[in-house]
């Protein structure tokens, strides 16, 4: 049959039971089809690989963002609004936000005015697992409600599971306003702990010695400013 020559698929073969093709013919066509099938697999593999590039890129997008696009200097209030020697809670709208973020983009932080233009600005997130720490002014301690992490007034670790002091924001005073460099949720990965770990109770002499060179920079011994 002519049709059989032109379109040799299985269904047609069944219809044309009367005239089976020569075995050699079938073998040749079979090997060609196998080759074509393998070729089609290869082609689809290539298409898949090309398709994977934008998909993986889309998924990894958040991790590939530039750091500068995630942080910005934000005005958190007039210097005069922060009494010296006190620690106050301040809210700011996160610089990077989308309209449907709602309340979740209102970020709080603790501002400690030591004296004059000397400030410390602590992230709300506990250095252990990110829960919101609360300031207890009479005890001069930050306490975390989740696992009991406790920090001193200067943000250094006092007790509990945190392995470092509170995260600190970079800050500056400009035109009578306190500005902080913020935008990204602080975690251990964003800034690794380089300060002394696990300073539990040291003899007074050791604390004096380690604090003395840092007294001018007012760095918190358990942590470093975040983001650096």
């Amino acid at each position: 049959m002519e049709q059989h020559e032109a379109k040799p698929d299985a269904a047609v073969e069944e219809q044309a039971q009367g005239t089976p093709p020569a075995p050699d013919d079938r073998a040749a066509m079979h090997s060609r089809r196998v080759f074509l099938f393998k070729l089609s697999l290869l082609m689809n593999g290539a298409v898949g690989a090309v398709l994977a590039v934008p998909i993986v890129g889309y998924l990894l997008g958040p991790a590939l963002r530039k750091r500068t696009s995630e942080n910005a200097w934000i005005d958190v209030g007039k210097v005069a609004d922060f009494p010296e020697g006190q620690t106050r809670l301040v809210d700011f709208r996160n610089p990077v936000t989308s309209p449907w973020d709602g309340q979740s983009a209102n970020i709080p932080c603790w501002v400690r005015r030591i004296s004059g233009d000397k400030f410390q600005v602590f992230a709300i997130n506990c250095a252990h697992l990110g829960c919101p720490v609360r300031w207890f002014a009479p005890a001069r301690l930050f306490m975390c409600p989740c696992h009991g992490g406790v920090y001193y007034e200067d943000g250094s670790r006092a007790s509990g599971p945190p392995e470092r002091g509170l995260f600190e924001y970079q800050h500056k005073v400009e035109g009578g306003s306190l500005m902080i460099y913020a935008g990204k949720m602080p975690t251990l990965a964003a800034k690794n702990c380089t300060g002394p770990r696990l300073t539990q109770i040291e003899p007074a002499a050791a604390i004096d010695a380690s604090a003395a060179p840092k007294a001018t920079s007012l760095e918190n011994p358990g942590s470093e400013s975040w983001p650096a």
């Binding site: 709080p108 609360r134 696992h147 001193y152 509990g160 990204k184 975690t187 990965a189 109770i201």
Partner: protein, 503 residues
């Protein structure tokens, strides 16, 4: 009526001729199983499947109203609870269904482990089951996130903080998890996608594979001591078992599954009616920091473990322990694929199961009342017991005020009220001398912060005088024995005298 029946048969035949599914399904339902497996112990897997169907159904119904955006999710849950007819009940069903699902899946796991069902030839069934457990927990966690309230918000913070501890790629993982620089719109959207599309898709596919293997390999025969599983003989033995005293799964065994599933469904409905929906707790507003975040109960034990790990061990344990646990579960059937199935011949397995179950129970219980956390408002809400103020000097009463106002109460209880982070101080004076208390208060130690900066000398004196009165039942004060010894030792000859100030 006979005519109707005729029509029904003809309609069935019309479909069956084209679909061809009816006959194989009937054969599958009626396949022979060993008589011993028609047992109330074998009903948990089917119950979990039924709850899964419930969860899919209630989930779709909730999605009709739920708004998956960070700004509106919480409001839409309030709307569901208060403005949508029976919305609260659907939310309650979905929430309780989730808790029942986790519980039943865990019971199912414990049962098949105890009955040695993971052994040849059902190794892969078990392994797929391990993934089903993880996916179920994944559904529970992502579901908690969709209830976008304070617990969800800070739970995400905990999740991000845990991921941030992964070496090298921790930061990138946090970015991918949150979708943006903070917990916000993108974060909720991706958890919505996970909870509604990704995890259920994989879950349903794997449940299909799991069930296919259960039917294909037959239900695990009831273990008998001495009936050893061997790769060479098991299939023939099982075949003999089903031939000798086999019964059709439907209806001879399935009625138990059906009754148990119905009871579980009734229990979920009863809980939903009685206890109502879960939350939502406070709004997902991070500026409201007067919150004590807590995970849902399937994760309370992890929350507790995280409180007890020493800081230096935390990161390694967080990542190594789960890896080992999951690998051990996956490899279990490959390592112990043959041998005894009966629990009486597997004491190590039974003991392990008990230890794990008790540990999970203990940590979950601890997670319910978090003794490691300061009670944030104890200092202002728990009054000093009157008995501790009666017949006290002005100085001691001033100390009681220091004790309250300096927030000592957040970690230390008196009269059963207050935090449990530090020891209860009802009888502290019987254990510590005045000197020891002054040292402990000013310098801290153990797990206590130093209060040297926060207390004036006058406050310290008053506080310690108050603490000195805390002796239950007029027990004697603690005595500094070494000081008395030092005082008694003749001064000049001196070598044996202890150094002053050392206790």
């Amino acid at each position: 009526m006979a005519g109707m029946k005729q029509v029904a048969f003809r309609v069935y035949d019309w479909f069956e001729q084209r679909l061809g599914l009816g006959q194989p399904l009937i054969e599958m339902a009626e396949h022979q199983i060993p008589e011993s497996t028609s047992s109330w112990w074998y009903v948990f897997g089917s119950a979990a499947t039924v709850i899964l169907v419930l969860q899919v159904m209630t989930g779709i119904l909730l999605a009709l109203v739920y708004a998956p955006t960070a700004g509106e999710a919480w409001n839409s849950l309030q709307f569901l609870d208060h403005n949508v007819k029976l919305g609260w009940f659907l939310r309650a069903m979905h929430g309780w269904g989730s808790d029942f699902m986790v519980a039943i899946v865990l019971i199912h796991l414990a049962q098949v482990f105890t009955f040695g069902a993971y052994k040849y030839p059902r190794e892969l069934t078990w392994m797929v089951g391990v993934f089903l457990l993880l996916l179920t927990l994944g559904m529970a966690f992502t579901g908690q996130v969709l209830r976008f309230d304070q617990d969800a918000y800070w739970g995400l913070g905990i999740g991000a903080s845990i991921l941030s501890r992964v070496p090298f790629i921790g930061g990138a993982l946090v970015d991918i998890m949150l979708g943006g620089p903070i917990i916000g719109g993108e974060t909720l959207s991706r958890f919505f996608s996970l909870h509604v599309f990704v995890i259920p898709g994989i879950l349903l596919a794997l449940v299909g594979v799991h069930l296919w293997m259960v039917v294909r390999l037959g239900i695990n025969d009831w273990p008998m001591p001495g009936r050893i599983v061997s790769r060479k003989t098991y299939m023939a033995d099982y075949h003999k078992l089903t031939q000798k005293n086999g019964i059709p799964f439907v209806p001879d065994a399935a009625w138990k599954d059906a009754i148990f599933a119905a009871v579980i469904m009734l229990a979920i409905m009863a809980c939903a009616l009685w206890f109502g929906p879960f939350g939502p707790s406070g709004q997902p507003d991070p500026t409201i920091i007067q919150t004590v975040p807590k995970p849902d109960y399937p994760f309370l034990w992890i929350y507790a473990v995280l409180a007890y790990l020493p800081p230096s061990l935390e990161t390694p344990v967080l990542f190594i322990a789960p890896t080992i646990a999951i690998l051990a579960m996956l490899l279990l059937p490959l390592v112990a694929g043959e041998g005894e199935k009966h629990w009486s011949r597997r004491p190590v397995a039974v003991l392990m199961l008990l230890v794990i179950a008790v540990s999970l129970g203990v940590f979950t219980r601890l997670g319910m009342y978090t003794p490691w956390s300061p009670i944030m408002n104890a200092w202002s809400s728990d009054p000093t017991p009157a008995a501790d103020l009666k017949d006290r000097t002005p100085l001691e009463r001033a100390g009681a005020i220091v004790f309250e106002t300096k927030q000592c109460r957040n970690c230390h209880s008196i009269g059963g009220a207050g935090g449990m982070r530090g020891p209860a101080l009802d009888s502290i004076a019987t254990r510590m001398t005045e000197d020891q208390m002054i040292r402990q208060v000013l310098q801290g130690g153990g797990n206590m912060p130093a209060y040297g900066d926060a207390l004036s000398p006058a406050e310290t004196t008053a506080l310690v005088h108050f603490l000195d009165t805390l002796r239950q039942g007029h027990a004697p004060s603690a005595i500094d024995a070494s000081k008395r010894l030092a005082d008694a030792t003749p001064a000049p000859s001196g070598q044996a005298a202890p150094a002053p100030g050392r206790h």
